[in-house]
Symmetry: C2
Subunit: 420 residues, 2 copies
Amino acid sequence: MALVVQKYGGSSVESAERIRRVAERIVETKKAGNDVVVVASAMGDTTDELLDLADQVCPAPPQREMDMLLTSGERISNALLAMAISSFGMEAYSFTGSQAGIITTTKHGDSRIIDITPGRVRDALDQGKIALVAGFQGVSRETLDVTTLGRGGSDTTAVAMAAALGADVCEIYSDVDGIYTADPRIVPDARKLDSISYEEMLEMAAVGSKILNLRSVEFARRYHVPLRVRSSYSTNPGTLVAGKVEDIPVEDAVLTGVAHDASEAKITVVGIPDQPGYAAKIFRVVADAEINIDMVLQNVSKAEGKTDITFTCPREVGARAVEVLSQAKDDLGIDQVLYDDNVGKVSLVGAGMKSHPGVTATFCESLSEAGVNIELISTSEIRISALVREDELPESVRALHAAFELGGEEEAQVYAGTGR
Amino acid sequence: MALVVQKYGGSSVESAERIRRVAERIVETKKAGNDVVVVASAMGDTTDELLDLADQVCPAPPQREMDMLLTSGERISNALLAMAISSFGMEAYSFTGSQAGIITTTKHGDSRIIDITPGRVRDALDQGKIALVAGFQGVSRETLDVTTLGRGGSDTTAVAMAAALGADVCEIYSDVDGIYTADPRIVPDARKLDSISYEEMLEMAAVGSKILNLRSVEFARRYHVPLRVRSSYSTNPGTLVAGKVEDIPVEDAVLTGVAHDASEAKITVVGIPDQPGYAAKIFRVVADAEINIDMVLQNVSKAEGKTDITFTCPREVGARAVEVLSQAKDDLGIDQVLYDDNVGKVSLVGAGMKSHPGVTATFCESLSEAGVNIELISTSEIRISALVREDELPESVRALHAAFELGGEEEAQVYAGTGR
């Protein structure tokens, strides 16, 4: 008998009808002889509706109360799911994050799980019940207040529960039936992967794949929890996320896929004194503003002993980055700060990169052949990313996907985002 | 500095705009130098919407999950209220029933409060914060599951909190601005009472006054918590519920008001052997079906050594009462069971009854003068109730209200019900 943790995204439980359909699937899994723990997100639009209400009563709501407000969404969906399961003749208990023993830090709105004491969940399983755990939420160890785990929090809840209970697999259900070699909306012949290593999935998530939340994949890797990305609309086995890159035999190592991301902005700091320490000063200013930097390029020094530095950061904090740098202009001894958010990042990910020489060459060639100019390039052991014009992003993805022959035979089904 | 507990009903927080208005009132009370604890019900229709969802996913939802589902309504309204308060520059913390230490029995859907450990609420007050407690909910001492207190539960939460914290007053806010001598929708010159004793309020609530939940008044009497029934739309001081009937000087004792109730049904058991024990048998059968009996009348014995018994019970269980009695027909030795739900109960309540002779006489005279026939009559020390035809109920109320000169000068403002 296996222990299966299943996570259902907001779109999978957006209506009473969908909740009943999901309940059927859960009951089937239980009847197949498994212990089942379910983590569900809030119903479709619930979160947006609650955020809208909050916005109406208070311009800048306290995060503690925001967490109290938003977590009710998962209480509702999980209780309804438990009811639906019972209507199919199985006993189900729903638990809040606190009841399920999800202990977190106190940073409201973006807490970290620091411990899990799933005693009550285990008891429910021992009694033959199906246990439902409200996703996205926990309880602060210090204040005992309700906390939330931030974006993609329900994935993290599911993986953490699976780790704490020693589950055999953690299935992540959404309206996406797996991890694709590229976004099928852009690349019609994108192929669904049967499996992918944690590292490759991390790279894919880090460079734009929205299917799995980055933190949940890190969690899964650390605790060796096999993840399975599946669709709640099909019986397709989906994609298995498991295993280390090191464990992939060189001859089997392949290129995984092409990801893209249009959420970054490019900032260029012009005229930096070409002396040790000035670049550091710049990144310190940006870091102090709590802005994360992604790609970085330092141009070759120019005649007059000055140099430029270009980096990318999330668009929503781009203006802020320009602001703090401009304010520190004199102190940094720089001439000017340029901002450009018509950029997009295209990335090729795959363990095969290590063993197949010339990948970078082919990468650059295929883009230039597509008439795409590379403005910035950065690489990791199993990833190459290039910054291009935003409007050239789709063409770039198609060019790379074709150049590395990642396509499959049949047309991929198009899917949408998955919310929390 | 006083400690004030304020309870706001669902209609008082039914929209973002109303929540902000209520928040202003709370902030004013705090600024006036009081410690303030607030108990709010779920927003207007939330409960109905959640019940509707439950109905869609499961024909007979498990009560445990129903409690988990419904309690989210109060979490939402209290969190929003806390946000609104903070937008007026005051710090507010919302607590779930469990966080507020409301310990209950395990009977889901209708739990009883068995203990209150308001440590966190007190800490919040000590830190100068306004404390909000989600009404209607608690946590089971045995199972640690979320429980609900049943109809009018938020009133009970407020009174229990006031008792546990030793509050100076518990203000019950709704769209009603006080306790009236009769329902102003029926009696235009109904008068708002400045004060009423616990016993009188209990009688009024017991015989149809919907303004205060019976259990909360019992709670207030037991722990000597002064209640003030007020409207969240006016600054009117409302009606004070406090004091014992015994403490009312005889010369001040008056008749409080006329209440009516059209929620009962009349059941007549015909042809009962007129021997000791048979009546008891009948009430045992009804009691075993968990049906509460209100008024009872045993007719005088008839020639053939048989008698009839008539009693009233809530309409929603009337059919069930007939069913269980009919099933036990032979065992009870009865001829037939008659059912009639076109009845209404009109009651006169007041401590003055004890000291003013002839009240019963005037009661009956005024009804007969109004052409109303009394089918059943029952009395307590401070109440007289009569069962009449349902369509004669309004006229009966007006007749009694006039006969005992309970009216005031100005026209009363018409109000509606208040939900939880």
